[in-house]
């Protein structure tokens, strides 16, 4: 008996000492870098706008299914044979999940597709492009296009230094099936939000699905945000998306937009199985004539054109009052340069070339259907007259003139889309929660995530 208690005591002592040592070890050496952000290599190398004559290879980390980088790299090598490229591809989700670790590694890609900057700027992983902005004269480019690509030292987007550029700048709107519209007696796309609702009601009465949408992976938020955009204060909404201190999602405009979506859900404007429809299913349903309207971006213009031919048109979401300015989501296919890249000058040269070289701009438009950005004074690439891509470029130009571009709310924080916007919007479009609840819940998640920074 004595030996057992003794053993127990010894065991207890051992456990206690192990726990104590573990505690000390855990507290003593914190994971990760303890020091402040390392000095980016980009600042160390002298800024030059002359392309090197040495033989170099630039690495690009890009998502799968985005062939623009392949074609751009090929054309660049044709013009400058001493620069070759190695392009590594991974799925969008894997790439975004791994991006910070890729950038922090000893051999980061020189150029990387980076949809949300998150903590990468604060952690010193991205090259500051301000010196190149000055050296190349990028100040002639559209400010509203570059604003979302900037980040301040306080981790607030929209202002501060430039850390990203776009390989194409997208714009969103509504695609309308003209064949179905004609059958319903609709002559022209709506010019106000009320008119849009009338046309949707007409479709519903005639057993035509008013809005082709899916929400398994959150695509319905093109519709949700399109509604919010028309009611919300644009600056206030942008301030939230840029994570400005004190910014809130819970604004009267956002609530009004969300309540409108709830009303559309109650009226049966979405399909019953919306929560099991993913992006590809949603695109193919509209391509097959599955409904009157669909909310999507310029990147599907070519697909819809091919499927529906002349029977489809693309236009900006109409404002509440006729004659009001348009507001539409748009974003850069954003790429960043790794701070540790030994070729920051060359990558900056490549990025500048993409925005200014006529062949490169043509490639961007042909392959992505997105506006090439850059100096608005430069001639636009040629596109087929009357095509959806032409409409898309016109829409992008109009939004630029009216200064009506807003970012996608999915880009607000790294985790908000999967963690809150998708599940809550699934509840909203099936009438489980009100617009007010939707807005409150997303804001609560936002505070939790931004607060942990």
């Amino acid at each position: 008996m004595a030996s057992t208690t003794g053993r127990r005591r010894r065991q207890r002592a051992a456990v206690a000492s192990i726990a104590a040592t573990t505690g000390i070890v855990l507290a003593a050496c914190a994971p990760g870098g303890n020091s402040a952000a390392p000095e980016p290599a980009g600042d160390a190398t002298e800024v030059s706008t002359e392309l090197t004559s040495e033989e170099i290879t630039l690495t690009i980390a890009d998502e799968t299914g985005f062939p623009a980088t392949d074609e751009l790299a090929e054309e660049f090598t044709r013009q400058h044979p001493n620069v070759t490229f190695r392009i590594n591809r991974d799925t969008f989700q894997n790439l975004t999940a791994n991006a910070p670790r890729l950038l922090a590694s000893d051999t980061p890609p020189d150029l990387i597709r980076l949809p949300t900057m998150g903590d990468t700027v604060r952690d010193g992983l991205l090259a500051n492009l301000d010196p190149y902005h000055e050296a190349y004269g990028w100040d002639a480019w559209s400010d509203s296009q570059l604003a979302p690509l900037r980040m301040s030292e306080e981790n607030v987007r929209g202002s501060g230094s430039l850390y990203q550029l776009g390989l194409g700048y997208s714009v969103t709107g509504i695609y309308m099936n003209l064949g179905i519209a004609e059958e319903l007696g609709i002559e022209a796309p709506p010019s106000t939000l009320a008119e849009l609702e009338e046309q949707m009601a007409l479709a519903a009465e005639n057993d035509v699905l008013p809005i082709v949408a899916g929400d398994k992976d959150g695509v319905v938020n093109f519709v949700v945000q399109a509604a919010m955009n028309q009611f919300a204060d644009q600056d206030e909404f942008m301030a939230w998306m840029f994570n400005e201190p004190g910014a809130t999602y819970n604004t009267p405009g956002n609530v009004e937009g969300a309540e409108l979506i709830r009303a559309w859900a109650d009226a049966g404007y979405f399909s019953d199985d919306i929560n099991s429809v993913d992006y590809f299913e949603f695109v193919s349903r509209f391509s097959e004539g599955g409904g009157l309207f669909t909310f999507n971006g310029n990147w599907e213009a070519a697909t819809y054109q091919e499927a529906l031919g002349e029977d489809v048109t693309f236009f900006l979401v109409p404002p509440v009052n006729e004659g009001d300015g348009h507001v539409a989501m748009g974003a850069a296919n954003s790429f960043s340069v790794a701070a540790k890249s030994p070729h920051v000058n060359e990558v900056a040269y490549f990025l500048n070339w993409i925005h200014t070289d006529p062949t490169a701009r043509q490639i961007v438009v042909d392959v992505t259907g997105a506006s090439p950005g850059g100096d608005p004074a430069l001639p636009m690439p040629e596109v087929e007259p009357g095509s959806l891509i032409e409409s898309a470029l016109e829409m992008a130009a109009r939004i630029g003139e009216e200064d009506g571009q807003v970012d996608f709310m999915a880009n607000t924080t790294a985790g908000i889309y999967a963690g809150s916007i998708i599940p809550e919007s699934q509840l909203l479009v099936t009438g489980r929660i009100t617009g007010q609840e939707f807005v409150e819940r997303v804001q609560e998640f936002y505070e939790g995530e931004v607060g942990t920074r």
């Binding site: 855990l26 914190a30 019953d272 929560n275 099991s276 790294a414």
Partner: protein, 333 residues
């Protein structure tokens, strides 16, 4: 699998023997001569032990490097607020408090326990029935073919099963079509988009995958049961049910324990089926801990919270699995 089986035995068995010999308090007379014999052969024994440890080194190194060390690091991360790259700040138990106070994370744990019904109860019950049925079949091509077909889902990657089933569960998918044939068209629905059916529907994918494994393993188990036991019980006039409960079920205790261990782990840490079929939706109806951990760690870059939830999940799995191990061991004696 072998880790879970062998660990408890080693821990439970070894120290007890040491304690008894070291105590040597008269009650245990016989050990004394054994100790003496050991003392005589001490040097060679020590050399043999050294050689044993030497041979064990590569495996031990791998185990420590790829299991123990990462586990230790996971525990360490769980006490920090860390994004995986930048500087980390010590937050004590905050992450654990968050795991147990966030209703969404708790909801995902509840969903995981619901999945046990589909990953463990259904496949083992179905496996028992199918194994008994197949055993009563005359050995031949039919019994072999049915075994093969039942085992087939096991060789399909879970991710692929999730995608294939999400097509079948769709509004226009096979499930609704088949319901239509039987005049049950009114019952058709988008199974994975319906709040009430999404979790059971996902669970049934797991049942479908695991039933084959259960059947095959249980069938092997039945094959090992002494045939004379069946003869004896039949001579005593037992029917099919009596035979099943008196001979088959007790004889399969080990296999059932192994299957329960495997399938409970599969249920509590399920990821791929959910990730490919519903991604946690609709709303959070099918959100499970592993998916939350993945999102928190890799999308939200909150490595500390993700690690804490991972540790909680590990402890949860151990708490469920260790009693099962005990049960099967208790049955041995």
């Amino acid at each position: 699998m072998s880790r879970h089986e062998t660990l408890p035995t080693r821990r439970g068995g070894a120290p007890r023997r040491v304690g008894r010999t070291a105590g040597g308090s008269g009650v245990t007379g016989p050990p004394r001569p054994r100790i003496a014999r050991r003392a005589g052969a001490k040097a060679p024994a020590r050399r043999a032990a050294a050689r044993g440890w030497f041979l064990l080194l590569p495996a031990l190194g791998m185990y420590i490097g790829f299991v123990v060390w990462p586990l230790f690091m996971g525990v360490q991360y769980s006490f920090y607020d860390w994004n995986g790259v930048g500087p980390a700040t010590w937050v004590g138990l905050d992450n654990y408090v968050k795991v147990f106070s966030d209703p969404y994370l708790l909801g995902s744990i509840r969903n995981a326990f619901v999945l046990i019904a589909f990953f463990t109860v259904i496949p083992i019950t179905a496996g028992l029935m199918l194994a008994t049925l197949i055993r009563s079949l005359r050995p031949g091509p039919f019994s072999r073919a049915s075994q093969t077909i039942l085992f087939l889902p096991q060789i399909i990657p879970l991710a692929a099963a999730g995608i294939a089933w999400s097509w079948m569960y769709a509004q226009t998918g096979a499930v609704n079509e088949i319901l239509g044939w039987f005049g049950l068209g009114w019952f058709a629905r988008p199974w994975l988009a319906d709040y009430g059916t999404a979790l059971p529907a996902v669970g049934l994918i797991g049942s479908w995958v695991l039933t084959g494994l259960c059947t095959v393993l249980l069938l092997t188990g039945i094959g090992k049961i002494d045939g004379s036991l069946y003869e004896a019980v039949r001579l005593d006039g037992a029917g099919w049910w009596r035979e099943f409960f008196t001979i088959t079920l007790p004889g399969l205790r080990q296999e059932i324990a192994v299957l329960m261990t495997l399938s409970v782990i599969a249920a509590l840490s399920s990821f791929d089926i959910i990730y490919t079929s519903t991604q946690g939706g609709p709303g959070r109806a099918t959100l499970v801990p592993a998916l939350s951990i993945y999102r928190i760690g890799f999308t939200q870059s909150d490595v500390g919270l993700a690690s804490a939830f991972g540790i909680v999940l590990m402890i949860m799995v151990l708490l469920c699995v260790l009693p099962i191990q005990r049960l099967s061991k208790a049955g041995d004696r």
